[in-house]
């Protein structure tokens, strides 16, 4: 090999290494800045620090789970609405979506003294997957979404009854769907955005519970008052519930489902009170449903645990039980050998 050839070869290798080295340094700086606890999706960076409810679902894992395959005929019709919503954005929920993160922001009325309630919850949905951006743009464009640029990202805004709804293309693999101001604020929190703003990782109280749920197929964490507001518990039940700060639910889905519900009380006394309440409810449920074979396994699997201020209840749900719990109109007849999905309530 001549000297000239050798120089050419080493020149090529050096150019490649310099380029890769530069990229690697940028990548390390980026990931160090965005270091998250293991098992949490990177989209959590877009959730604001003051979010009162945060939820996550590993759609890809759920779609590929044995449970989904087994329950598919039962749940197929029920999930049509959500699938249709995704189709409206040009996204194939089954094939293109990997993860979904959603959050609810607290409602701040213009007059803090007023008892005004929000018409629509201030919620944002972050969908991560492999999307064809051109298709999404075309879909939204056709559905009368005015395109605008915000902080270098495309935002499609749809105005209706004085409300602004938007779809923001946060990254090539990430879209945000929700109220326009929330979409814009999510763009501000993008890792490369100049303005930034504190995300949920800067909220140690919420992160403590979120970290516990990390790695599960699906989870939801929220402030109890926000969850209670949304659940609209009957006044009699509400009076029985001791003061709680945070509640979370996580589920691991594969052949069946293993779920854990955790509550953080304000103090030890409240936690003890809640534990007694839950114990009572479990006994009552065992009396009521213990003879139903489908629930027998689930009731046996219930475990109540916790530390000083936390109360935790876990249980396992077999596919049969989940089939029983499916909405009555869409449930299949268990006695039939060849399982066929029951017709839609609306006749479709």
């Amino acid at each position: 090999m001549t000297k000239k050839t050798r120089y050419f070869l080493f020149g090529g290798i050096a150019a490649l290494l310099v380029g890769l080295g530069g990229g690697l340094v940028a990548y390390l700086a980026f990931t160090r800045g965005a270091a998250l606890p293991a098992g949490l999706p990177p989209e959590i960076r877009f959730v604001p620090a003051n979010a009162e409810v945060v939820a996550f679902a590993d759609v890809h894992a759920v779609m590929n789970s044995d449970l989904r395959r087994e329950l598919m005929p039962t749940i197929e019709s029920g999930s049509r609405k959500g699938r249709q919503m995704m189709n409206d954005f040009g996204v194939d929920l089954e094939k293109q979506v990997n993860r979904v993160v959603a959050y609810v922001e607290p409602f701040a009325p213009l007059d803090p003294r007023s008892q005004e309630k929000p018409e629509i919850p201030k919620a944002l949905l972050l969908v991560q997957g492999s999307f064809d951006q051109a298709r999404i743009e075309q879909f939204i464009g056709e559905r009368a979404g005015a395109m605008e640029e915000y902080n270098g990202r495309k935002v499609f805004v749809h105005r209706e009854d004085g409300h602004e709804f938007a779809v923001g293309l946060l990254a090539p693999d990430l879209i945000a769907i929700g109220q326009a101001d929330l979409v814009r604020r999510a763009i501000d929190r993008a890792p490369d955005a100049a303005r930034g703003g504190q995300d949920i990782t800067g909220n140690p109280e919420m992160m403590n519970v979120i970290r516990d749920a990390a790695g599960s197929t699906a989870w939801v964490v929220g402030r109890f008052d926000a969850v209670r507001r949304r659940m609209r518990l009957p006044t009699t039940v509400e009076g029985q519930v001791p003061p709680l700060r945070l509640v979370s639910a996580k589920a691991n889905v594969n052949g069946g489902m293993k779920a854990t519900i955790r509550a953080e009380a304000g103090d030890k006394a409240a936690a003890d009170q809640l534990r007694d309440l839950v114990r009572g409810v479990i006994s009552l449920v065992r009396l009521q449903a213990g003879r139903t074979p489908a629930f027998e396994g689930t009731l046996k699997s219930i475990e109540l645990s916790g530390t000083d201020r936390t109360v935790q209840m876990s249980f396992a749900l077999a596919p049969d039980t989940l089939r029983m719990l499916a909405p009555r109109g869409r449930r299949q007849r268990p006695e039939s050998g060849t399982e066929k999905p029951s017709p839609e309530p609306d006749g479709r």
């Binding site: 380029g19 890769l20 051109a134 395109m147 270098g152």
Partner: protein, 281 residues
């Protein structure tokens, strides 16, 4: 055959491969084809410099429906249109088909065959020289384009760096597989460049458009399935292609490409071993 004999034979074969590689790389690097290669890999870099300059001057470099397109999307488009669909197959065709046919046309193949080296080692050595030569020009060009284009219009190098590694890997695989296929064509066919270009711009394009199994007999089908960027919907042909496309999984693609590479190289080496090349007088 005892293991020691096999080992000695294998050692002699690879020693011969290295000698041919050493001799061929200089020939290949300073041939007229290098000018074409530099043009094919330098043009994307020039485009990237232009885009970046326009961006740095405060103008939005690339807009669709009046909106600036982020750098990583532009880079993805360049990978598809400039490298994957043009540079890689064309370089494979130009260099791969010439590995043996150049020696036949120049009537120098006799001198190679007279050497005490296995004939198969000649094509393998030349193939490795092609691979090193093209990879060391194409991959730095892609890296330079990435570094120039990725930060444009809100893009980030740090966030998309893993995609660059995937791109480099798949382009290297593309060069290797196309090179092996064209080396086989070069060893089999009298006018291999025409056949090679027909394969790239004829067969591969048509087979990808036709619904059914035909696409499985193309390199592009497996290679395109590995691309981390979505296919640009730039024309009707691409739209039809994506309509019928059902991309194989990454594992299937890699396995298929490895099989094509192995079979094509083995057949090329076998053809050179067995075939009698008649030189024009």
């Amino acid at each position: 055959m005892t293991p020691s004999t096999l080992f000695a034979r294998s050692g002699r074969f690879w020693n011969a491969v290295f000698r041919v590689f050493d001799m061929s790389i200089a020939q290949m690097m300073w041939s007229r084809r290098t000018a074409f290669m530099l043009l094919a890999t330098g043009a994307p870099v020039a485009i990237a410099v232009l885009l970046r300059t326009i961006h740095e001057l405060g103008m939005s470099s690339f807009r669709v429906n009046g909106m600036p397109v982020p750098g990583p999307i532009i880079f993805g488009g360049m990978i598809w249109l400039l490298y994957l669909r043009f540079t890689v197959p064309v370089l494979g065709a130009f260099y791969g088909t010439s590995l043996i046919s150049d020696e036949v046309e120049d009537r120098t193949i006799t001198y190679l065959f007279m050497r005490p080296v296995p004939r198969g080692a000649i094509i393998i050595g030349k193939y490795l020289a092609y691979l090193v030569c093209t990879a060391l020009v194409v991959l730095p060009s892609v890296t330079a384009v990435y570094l120039l284009v990725a930060p444009v219009a809100g893009g980030s190098i740090g966030a998309t760096f893993p995609q660059l590694l995937t791109d480099l890997g798949l382009l290297a695989v593309g060069l290797a597989v196309y090179g092996a296929v064209f080396a086989l064509i070069g060893a089999l066919v009298p006018r291999p460049l025409v056949a090679g270009l027909l394969l790239v711009f004829g067969w591969e394009q048509v087979a990808l458009l036709v619904p059914g199994y035909l696409r499985r007999f193309t390199v592009a089908h497996y290679l395109q399935a590995l691309v981390p960027h979505s296919m640009p919907q730039d024309d009707t042909i691409t739209a039809i292609q994506s309509l019928f496309s059902e991309p194989p999984s990454a594992l299937t693609s890699l396995t298929s490409l490895a099989v094509i590479l192995g079979v094509a190289l083995w057949l090329a080496a076998r053809t050179v071993e067995k075939r009698e090349y008649i030189l024009d007088q």
